[in-house]
Amino acid sequence: MPTLIELKDGVCRGVQDSFTHVADDEALPKGDVIISLTRFQAEGDALLSEGRRVGVKLEAEEEVEALAYDLPKLAVVGLVALNFPKYRDGRAYTNARVLRERFKFTGQVRAMGDVLREQAGFMVRVGFDAFEPADDASANEWQAATRRYRHVYQRSADGRAPAFAEREG
């Protein structure tokens, strides 16, 4: 089972991932699954009623607004996974931030795809709290990468005080 890094209370830990990624043309295994938005829209309610947890994977071009109605449910019995087809594709940063700031989503927001430690700091700032690293980064390395900067300049979804607020003391 691939390693998952979870961020809780400022600490990164490697954990066993209970979720299985399932493609649209694959049969559903037992247990917790992460499926596409399309599949979730068709089968999500049925799967949830079976008592398992369901995560929804959004591609970079899909917008979290499409999930608005389901988010309260997903916060309790699921997660939202945002895919980075390439690390250079920055659309998932907006999705994550809108999830946290606009929809006040409290469940897991997971980064998957081309997820590299060099971007860890940005990801944490926009509200990601779980990571499937593509570069074999350990939880310690991931944690170090998120703490490279002592200050930040702008408000974001992580609640860190920006420079202008620190200056006011």
């Binding site: 920055g90 940063y93 907006t94 940005f122 926009v126 490279r148 900067y149 002592r150 300049y153 200056r167």
Partner: protein
């Protein structure tokens, strides 16, 4: 000037140490060049034809003497004794060794400088009017807003992986010295009838393969709502800008595809959802504004005897004043432009010695303030008229007293095939040939304002689309050819130049420019600039003259 506080300094120190670690991993072989490339690009380090190039950020083109001396020192220790000022008002070192770069970043950080966001698909250095704080034309000091944007855009977690690079320019004067209308976002500060300050917001201008003069999407944005509005524009762009084709990824393509009204309404909808929470508090704006409080100007008479006497006795000084000295808002002061376009020199290059001379003059006679212009020159914004003869003599002795600001030899040129891996053709020698041809200063002054801009490839780093005469290098079966365009402008009367005719071979370009100038002198009426004459006559007389030989 804005002074970095402990927070700003800590940001630079953290950046520097992060990059030192990344370079060490690369040099140890733990990172491949492929893996390292995005990391070095985040720090302005490019691999060019012959060596690494390091692009140092000069936020809104503003430098103090200590910083300029540091750039001179870096040039001397780590490069070949010079640096190249760019159209983004940054400075490039073209002969850098990878192993030296962490030390260079430490040097830079020691004077509150860096190479952050001088590359990559992020928000680049925000540029502004080099006369800010010195010209009577401005309705506010645009540096206040440029500094607010500098902080907001630095390591922005949501907008560091945009579809493409993103450039913002701010001007507060009706005479636009920033090329605001050909930026991703151009901000023009205005005062409403009731005295309130606001921005006209222009989005989607640009050059490159598909040049556009940007449309205005908001006529009057209250100044204190700037950051939330920028966030809305960037969010719409981040989500909807094209990512499938690098040449169609700039925001101009999105704005053109949606139409400006639809784009504007998407921004408005997003802006309404974002709300005021994303704006900078008034306290922080006041803090930043305080840093740009008016310099300690003396109360001086409008006339300076020393200045008038020097003009009368020294024609070369009088010529320098006519072309390089601009009116200051305070009587008894002038704005001094320092041309980095010496005849036969590389446009925008300055030697370490020249940088030190400018730093000394700024410290002694210029309230320690130095600016870089997007036209690749330097400015001492606050010089007493009494001191002008001394400042001029110092500049002249250092070889940077060329009296050609806005004249035909004040050429923008990209580094071209002499340095750049993307170029199709050389740009620098073309600029040198043209400057040589118009070496006669009387003739240059008779021709008046004429902006020539040269790019070595379609990426248009030399802004050829907005040159009164634009020159674009193209490759034809392995030979350098040059496509001429006429009638472009990057100023408040912005327009994209139109094609003159078939591309010309390398050795014909300077002669063709000479011919264009002769046609202009023949056709011009009254005080018309080259641009005005061209706009009145159209291309025909120019085209006929340049291609007469071919018939």
């Amino acid at each position: 000037m804005y002074q970095y506080d402990t927070i700003d300094k800590a940001m630079l120190a953290d950046r520097s140490s992060e990059f030192r670690g990344q370079v060490a991993r690369r040099l140890a072989g733990d990172l491949t060049e492929d893996q390292f490339k995005p990391l070095r690009l985040m720090n302005g380090l490019y691999l060019q034809l012959h060596a690494y190039m390091l692009r140092v950020a000069i936020p809104y083109g503003s430098l103090n003497p200590t910083q300029l001396r540091k750039l001179a020192e870096i040039g001397r220790i780590y490069d070949k004794g010079y640096g190249h000022f760019t159209t983004r008002t940054n400075l490039q070192f073209h002969w850098i060794k990878l192993a030296d770069t962490p030390d260079i970043l430490d040097h830079l950080a020691s004077v509150d400088m860096h190479a952050i966001q001088t590359s990559g698909n992020c928000i680049r250095n925000t540029t502004t009017d080099p006369y800010a704080g010195a010209t009577a034309e401005e309705v506010d000091d645009p540096r206040v807003w440029a500094e607010a944007i500098r902080q907001w855009s630095t390591f922005h977690p949501e907008f560091s992986f945009l579809p493409r690079k993103f450039k913002i320019a701010i001007t507060a004067a009706p005479k636009d010295r920033t090329a605001a209308r050909v930026h991703d976002i151009g901000l023009v500060l205005k005062r409403a009838r009731d005295g309130a300050l606001g921005f006209e917001v222009i989005v989607g201008g640009g050059m490159g393969r598909t040049p556009y003069v940007g449309p205005t999407i908001k006529e009057f944005l209250p100044v204190n709502r700037l950051l939330s509005y920028l966030e809305a524009v960037l969010r719409v762009y981040n989500r909807h800008g094209r990512r499938d084709n690098i040449y169609k990824a700039r925001i101009k393509i999105l704005v053109a595809a949606l139409g400006k009204d639809e784009f504007a309404s998407q921004v408005e909808a997003e802006w309404a959802k974002i709300g005021e929470i994303a704006d900078l508090p008034d306290t922080e704006l006041a803090r930043i504004r305080g840093a740009f409080a008016a310099a300690n100007f003396e109360v001086l008479p409008a006339q300076s005897e020393a200045f008038e006497a020097a003009k009368a006795s020294t024609p070369a000084f009088a010529r320098f004043v006519r072309n390089n000295v601009k009116p200051h808002k305070k009587s008894g002061y002038g704005i001094v432009e320092i041309s980095l376009k010496g005849i036969g020199d590389t446009p925008g290059d300055a030697t370490s010695e020249q940088m030190e001379v400018v730093a000394d003059l700024a410290e002694q006679y210029g309230l320690s303030d130095i600016r870089v212009t997007h036209e690749q020159n330097l400015v001492l914004p606050h010089v007493k008229l009494d001191d002008l003869p001394t400042v001029w003599a110092g500049l002249r002795d250092a070889g940077i007293g060329t009296p050609n600001i806005n004249l035909i030899s004040d050429i923008i040129a990209c580094p071209g095939l002499d340095y750049c891996a993307l170029a199709n053709a050389r740009a620098i020698p073309i600029a040198q040939h043209i400057a040589e041809k118009f070496r006669d200063q009387d003739r240059a002054e008779k021709i008046g304002e004429l902006k020539i801009k040269i790019s070595g490839c379609i990426n248009a780093c030399g802004h050829h689309h907005v040159g009164h005469i634009g020159i674009l290098g193209v490759d034809k079966k392995g030979e350098e050819f040059y496509q001429l365009t006429l009638g472009g402008s990057g100023a408040e009367d912005a327009s994209v130049g139109s094609m003159l005719g078939p591309a010309l071979p390398y050795e014909k370009v300077a002669d063709a420019v000479d011919t264009l100038v002769e046609v202009y002198l023949r056709e011009r009426q009254g005080d018309e600039r080259f641009l005005d004459t061209f706009r009145r006559t159209g291309v025909t007389p120019f085209k006929e003259a340049v291609y007469a030989d071919a018939h």
